[in-house]
């Protein structure tokens, strides 16, 4: 079953690669587009460029990625803490919840240039914006987890005469972990996006700068390789969260098999 799925995926990726090759070929040889190399280069050439410039691209990527990761960790921590506060204190929830809802409706990345303008420090703004954008989905999902704890699970704790700290440690937090991770899965690629955006708003280094330079002329051929790198960064960030989920939620149904009947 699982082997089958992998095969299907491989076929898919091979198919997309082939289609892309075909597209690039027809752009050059059928439509005779002079901009073909910049519009849709041959994917094998992009990969070759990526391999050739791996050193610089991965270094630039690492700068962006590490700042995204720092911001992500910061934003996630603040989000988790706020969600817990909101679940403990009714007043905290009443104050913060409407803002949490509204903030999910507004285009937060639109604030990036403002924050960049206020902070004026590349690394700090990368971290702040990544943290900022991570914060909302994490807080919202964590809170919905804390609010979904079954009443009978809480009653069991009550029957043990449990105090608040142990109720949270032994029930509320483990129960909300799956919810937390769905928030983290949304946030991880976003934090990378945020970090790249700050690169492009005027940093000196990072993968966004490579994108921007190649966008406004100069090193044309590196552009697609940079796009590949940033896409890869987003995907990697997502899979890191997936792996973490497997480690922290070993009880998840998909990871285990049923033992047997009575």
């Amino acid at each position: 079953m699982n082997k089958n799925k992998t095969l299907v995926l491989l076929v898919w990726f091979a198919g997309i690669f082939a289609l892309w090759e075909l597209g690039a070929f027809s752009l050059v040889n059928i439509f005779h587009d002079k901009m073909a190399a910049s519009k849709l280069p041959y994917p094998h050439e992009v990969i070759a460029t990526l391999a050739k410039n791996w050193q610089t691209l991965s270094e630039a990527g690492a700068v962006t990625f590490s700042k995204a990761a720092t911001g992500f960790a910061l934003g996630a921590s603040i989000g988790i803490i706020l969600a817990i506060l909101m679940s403990i204190s009714k007043i905290a929830e009443q104050i913060a919840f409407p803002y949490l809802i509204v903030s999910q409706m507004i285009p937060v990345l639109g604030l990036a240039p403002i924050i960049f303008n206020l902070v004026r420090n590349m690394d700090a703004s990368r971290i702040i914006i990544a943290a900022y954008i991570t914060f909302f989905p994490v807080a919202a999902n964590m809170l919905s987890g804390l609010k979904s704890v079954d009443i009978d699970k809480r009653e069991l704790m009550y029957s043990y005469a449990a105090k608040k700290p142990s109720i949270y440690m032994k029930l509320m937090l483990p129960f909300s972990l799956p919810y937390l991770f769905s928030g983290l899965k949304i946030a991880a690629p976003l934090s990378v996006t945020a970090s790249i955006l700050v690169d492009m708003l005027g940093s000196k280094n990072g993968i966004g700068v490579k994108l921007l330079y190649s966008l406004y002329g100069g090193t044309k051929d590196i552009f697609w390789a940079s796009v590949f790198t940033s896409a890869l960064m987003g995907i990697i960030s997502y899979f890191i969260v997936i792996i973490a989920e497997r480690i922290f939620i070993p009880w998840k149904k998909e990871f285990n098999t049923k033992a047997g009947e009575d």
Partner: protein, 257 residues
């Protein structure tokens, strides 16, 4: 009733307090900023009032790009979900590929679209289309396939063919998930449209306005564009929620508590 009053009074008073502190220079003192770096709320409001026509025009451009892109992207996403439902084995792989698209940063997409489309609008729509595809595909697929237990058996007992199952069971069943996707997409389409305008060749739209005014150190103008963008996001979201409430009256999430 008093609880409801409290739950509006608390956030409202905190919001007003924040604006007041901002207005009276509290944040400036705290963050060591000059008024020209961080304009005060009344300054932003009066700037916005003076430039309302231009700001609204830019807003219209961004919103129309976002909506057109969202419609195209969501439609493609939905089609992918349908194909994946009809051909489960191969379709599911396609879904995985689409969700990989989801992880591609918007900022990397906009330069690509710059190369493919010569107009700012085309480029904006292109970015939004790609960004909104995945959320719809994943959610709609979930709605089309995650059926209530025995509902498929019931259809079989009626000797329903696949076509009937699709239209009578799967399609209505996926409606709530489609709206979930639309609510996600309306926000992300605004974000995508604005971000694509940061790097666009054209000189219109909210994103361009934000970036250009900040570059020219017209801070109050930049902030008023932010305000407009936020308001537009909220209004669009509320419209979708209203449509949702009318369309899926039967769903448990709409039940009055």
């Amino acid at each position: 009733m008093t609880d409801k009053l409290k739950s509006t009074l608390w956030p409202l008073s905190i919001g007003v307090l924040t604006l007041l502190i901002w207005q009276l220079g509290g944040f400036h003192a705290l963050l060591d900023l000059k008024p020209f770096q961080l304009p005060v709320p009344t300054g932003i409001a009066s700037t916005l009032a003076q430039n309302l026509t231009k700001a609204l025009r830019d807003c219209g451009i961004t919103v129309s790009g976002a909506i057109v892109g969202m419609i195209i992207g969501s439609s493609i996403g939905f089609l992918i979900a349908v194909v994946a439902t009809v051909f489960p084995k191969w379709g599911y792989g396609g879904l995985t590929v689409v969700s990989a698209f989801n992880a591609i940063p918007i900022v990397a997409l906009s330069p690509i679209m710059n190369r493919w489309f010569s107009t700012g609008m085309g480029q904006k729509i292109g970015v939004v289309t790609v960004v909104t595809m995945a959320a719809m595909a994943i959610n709609a697929y979930r709605g089309l396939t995650d059926l209530k237990p025995f509902s498929l058996d019931l259809m079989k007992s009626y000797a329903a063919n696949r076509r009937t199952v699709f239209f009578r069971l799967r399609l209505p069943n996926c409606l709530p998930s489609v709206f979930t996707a639309l609510k996600i997409n309306i926000t992300s389409s605004m974000i995508a449209a604005i971000v694509s305008e940061y790097f666009a060749t054209s000189t219109s739209g909210l994103g361009f306005g934000i970036k250009d005014n900040l570059r020219k150190a017209e801070m109050a103008m930049g902030w008023s564009y932010i305000t407009i963008a936020a308001l537009a996001g909220i209004v669009l979201y509320l419209i979708i929620s209203m449509v949702e409430r009318r369309a899926v009256k039967w769903h448990a999430s709409q039940r009055i508590k």
